[in-house]
Symmetry: D2
Subunit: 356 residues, 4 copies
Amino acid sequence: MPGSIFGKAFQVSTWGESHGRGVGAVIDGCPPRIPLDERYIQAMMDKRKPGQSAASTTRKEEDRAVIMSGVFEGMTTGTPIMIMIKNKDAKSDSYKPFANLYRPGHGDFTYQKKYGVRDWRGGGRASARETAGRVAAGAVAKAVLEMEKIKVTAYTLELGGVRAKGIRAKKNHLDSVYENPYLCPDPDAAVAMDKRVCEIRQQGDSIGGIVEIIASGVPAGLGDPVFDKLDAELARGLMSIGAVKGVEIGAGFEAAVKTGSTNNDPVLPEGFASNHAGGILAGISNGDDLVMRVAVKPIPSISIEQTTIDINNQPETIRVGGRHDISAIPRINVVCEAMVYLVLADHLLRQRSIQK
Amino acid sequence: MPGSIFGKAFQVSTWGESHGRGVGAVIDGCPPRIPLDERYIQAMMDKRKPGQSAASTTRKEEDRAVIMSGVFEGMTTGTPIMIMIKNKDAKSDSYKPFANLYRPGHGDFTYQKKYGVRDWRGGGRASARETAGRVAAGAVAKAVLEMEKIKVTAYTLELGGVRAKGIRAKKNHLDSVYENPYLCPDPDAAVAMDKRVCEIRQQGDSIGGIVEIIASGVPAGLGDPVFDKLDAELARGLMSIGAVKGVEIGAGFEAAVKTGSTNNDPVLPEGFASNHAGGILAGISNGDDLVMRVAVKPIPSISIEQTTIDINNQPETIRVGGRHDISAIPRINVVCEAMVYLVLADHLLRQRSIQK
Amino acid sequence: MPGSIFGKAFQVSTWGESHGRGVGAVIDGCPPRIPLDERYIQAMMDKRKPGQSAASTTRKEEDRAVIMSGVFEGMTTGTPIMIMIKNKDAKSDSYKPFANLYRPGHGDFTYQKKYGVRDWRGGGRASARETAGRVAAGAVAKAVLEMEKIKVTAYTLELGGVRAKGIRAKKNHLDSVYENPYLCPDPDAAVAMDKRVCEIRQQGDSIGGIVEIIASGVPAGLGDPVFDKLDAELARGLMSIGAVKGVEIGAGFEAAVKTGSTNNDPVLPEGFASNHAGGILAGISNGDDLVMRVAVKPIPSISIEQTTIDINNQPETIRVGGRHDISAIPRINVVCEAMVYLVLADHLLRQRSIQK
Amino acid sequence: MPGSIFGKAFQVSTWGESHGRGVGAVIDGCPPRIPLDERYIQAMMDKRKPGQSAASTTRKEEDRAVIMSGVFEGMTTGTPIMIMIKNKDAKSDSYKPFANLYRPGHGDFTYQKKYGVRDWRGGGRASARETAGRVAAGAVAKAVLEMEKIKVTAYTLELGGVRAKGIRAKKNHLDSVYENPYLCPDPDAAVAMDKRVCEIRQQGDSIGGIVEIIASGVPAGLGDPVFDKLDAELARGLMSIGAVKGVEIGAGFEAAVKTGSTNNDPVLPEGFASNHAGGILAGISNGDDLVMRVAVKPIPSISIEQTTIDINNQPETIRVGGRHDISAIPRINVVCEAMVYLVLADHLLRQRSIQK
């Protein structure tokens, strides 16, 4: 049963796998008369490009997003927008050695169990390549939300154990996110991250980290009780990104060790005095910034030898060489942004349906 | 737009609010010929009852689940099962003083912003009372999953800063969960938790904690790429519980500080050598136990004075007295179990639709 | 997989079967602050009552609709509205003789095939009793649409071969619908219908007919390309009523014998010069009245002997005696109205989500 | 809000408009390991080609369906199948004269009202061109159903008032459908249809007709009470085809003039003695052939002068010249087949989810 659809009012489905003909997204429910063109989408796609930091491969990818439908004379028409990104003639040969092996930490084993077959070329549908479609769709959501002055920014809070410091205290810390290739608003941490990445690369290993995402300008009232709470939908959207193993809203796991008197955000006539809630109360936005964090696991493809089995359940060892990223961060950051944009666009439209 | 529906194949919707006539759930898509009666449902409902530990109120509640449809001669018929729990003539008078005030940490403010109106009696739809319907539905899911030997257990890992120790190392730690009122498999920690709860009660404050949930017997192959990944759905389901502010799968936030070589679970002919994945790879169950944790915030209703505003945006102070729980734990534990049961029942049926 | 849900923005699910504890509906997505009370719902429910014409049984039924949630102080709150109608202690004994027989024209056979079991008491979920929940939900939709001056009226166009004449030509023919128990705007036809019903009753047989439904005040722009065209959704909604075997929009089957030049409705500055389109062009309302017709099959329960089999596939004969209706018309008329209200409320809210 | 999705288990969404870059469909939920290739899809696409009878234009179209994802080594993988049909560089210039005019019988007026904008090039999303995606998706559904020996055939029952005779009486009438370009199993009627089409072409007018669709091999038990009854879904699917104005199941409108004793299908140990039900009882298939008919309106584009208005509400006249079809029949027949295939594939998978 289909699991490739996200959203109810602003509805996105992605299609495509790593080494097929292409990947893409269909966006249905986008309001008409929103200015949109390929350049706008491409700008967001480009944030997903490899080679911007030492953490990602130097492989050249020219992912060009093409609008196939739903836009006419520079404006959305209200009908489905299909955006396609053709795959390059990727060398699936490099995956041939693993065609009969289950790579640890990958979906090879589980896809086989689920479908009785798998597309072993580069992870197939489980590949991070699928997220290209999400980012393209996220750009459309962004265009809708920009008209409401809603903006989402994801930055690197921690990488390989190196944590950014003092960033929430800084005024305008969001403005400095793009000043270094690690998308980290603490420039000193960024330097340390780079050092850590280089060490790990030497070891043939990989690292994870934490991405923090801020959505500003979100009006109060978005989110639907009880299963489609805004935080529930954000958690689903963010956890649906392959490498993510944890999601926090506001104080998150910190809230578990606080008391009610220190965790409740006092309400003042001018707004909330603190934001432990992360901008969401009872599943509905309260007008404050949304604050989320995701735990990103290390890239499972490493060149260190690992223990595994083949498709006949025989013990084997495997080294997944090749030009793999050291960390999903910072390329994953824009995917996080995209998912948050998708959730917000959906709930913005949903909220309109009950207003007059 | 509706947000009260959960699941696609095994589909549950809940209805009802705190001080209305009742709460309940409609379960649609349940396979026919599953043995089910009210006693079975009641047994799960009773785990939600207050008064089992010092952390919850001593208020007497006799939540009796009544099957209104969909079951005939002790078996499900395949048609919608409606389960109703009537509300007692609850004293909404005790909420009158807050009718014009926004209680910090509650949904009062956001419901008002969303709907332009709110049911101020005991939180209305945002009340934890809504979860009674979820637990009733969860019991139906449990009945379906029991036939497949799938079992979900939630226990208290941490409460008010007191953390259970060594429990994963223990054999059969799940069997000891119900041996103390805190549902904590570490009996020493349970004693310390009780002490902490009593201190906090004295202070008129409240505490949070962490619940760990284990699903055993889950076959490999459940979960649908890419947005309905099993972990994404679990995250949504768990985060949709009012007090939950964070969700982790397997290693969770720990994964962020590991390397690929230590985080990947080696694959052996007899299974995985470790379970940092939490039983899920690329969003699909791998046959190992599912392992999840949720961060539970402290109960926002405290008798300590807090700063707030009234509906006219004037500054006020508030003391939310009454017989409130000190912590959502351990009553919330069975709600976590219910949500995991719902996700698993849904994906079990979804998986059947593509098999033959 | 669940089939008991209708609508996407204004979403209705019904639950309950003929001889269980009750039937009802959950309405989710209804905008807040719509005036609503039980009296309003009951007024629509009463149009479904038996005993108003000779075509229905004289059985007394006091279907009382009770609002269980979602309404507070006479207004909708925006959260799920559950409406329950308890079943009387219906005598399922009268169905005992048929417990092992498949009644021709009924769902006994197909439910058994689908579920491997059936609730033989009065048709279970396939009973027309399920429509009580639809009418209750339809009343809520009506309340929403009334604020936009949208009104739906269903009347009897044909019954047992007797056809109403000249009614579209009449000014205000909709006002005369309730002047006779057959809900037929042609009083002469109503008299002939009554005569026909009495003859058929004598014969122990039953009859069908045609109901025409007009929705006035519908703004242009409702309906979503391409599968959720307004006419597609109306067709689904109307065909989902048990006895309906055909649906027409506007000219309907007449359109098949027309030419383009006679079927196209000329467009004038003041509106369309004719309405062969039935108020819908390319699946979207054009501002004109919506015009639909449904073919209603004769009630399958007749006291004439029929050929059938038992659950062991042995040949049998059956006489389904008892107090059955002679025709689903006119009691079905309000169910048609309800379904059209549901479709229109849904698309009204859907349209709002893409407007600003 | 999105209306481009059809089905719940076997889920299809179409994208694309008449004169954009292409049209296509995403099929999600298709079981894995179904043999599928482009040739198989193309064979069904070719039945939609123009130029096969005098009723359609002689325009050359080479609609080539390309599988972009979801198929690997000649088999479905279980992940989304995207099929794309590129648009030729169609001359939208021929639509320029109508850019500011509402063509009678078309969606120009309603799209403008709905979206505040329209893609005037050849009807945009309302164009019959969108159905290319449906047929491609229908071919995938057909591949799934073929493994169960389920087959759908649509033929022309009536065209421009000429009705096929005696066809149901014929043994194997379905085999003769493709023996003439009108897809009419009565060869004499086909000749008369051709004559009628030529007359109408002379007059610059257009005609409608009736298509009958038979699904054979359908097992008992498909369809879900109560809103997703098999007939309700078929009605929705068929009515969602642009030119369709009426849908009948089994006896259809004939049922309205029958009595219960003549309309009920007697049940015999070897099956039903007649098939007025059209293979569906209480919304669930009974194992007999499904029988449906749709009323197809005449093509609205005619070269006879018509009365209309421009976008400034000023009176105008219009002649929609060019190479338009005289009738949507017989090209629409395969679209009807596709929609029935989609409904059946969906319900086949849905039924599996509740079986074991």
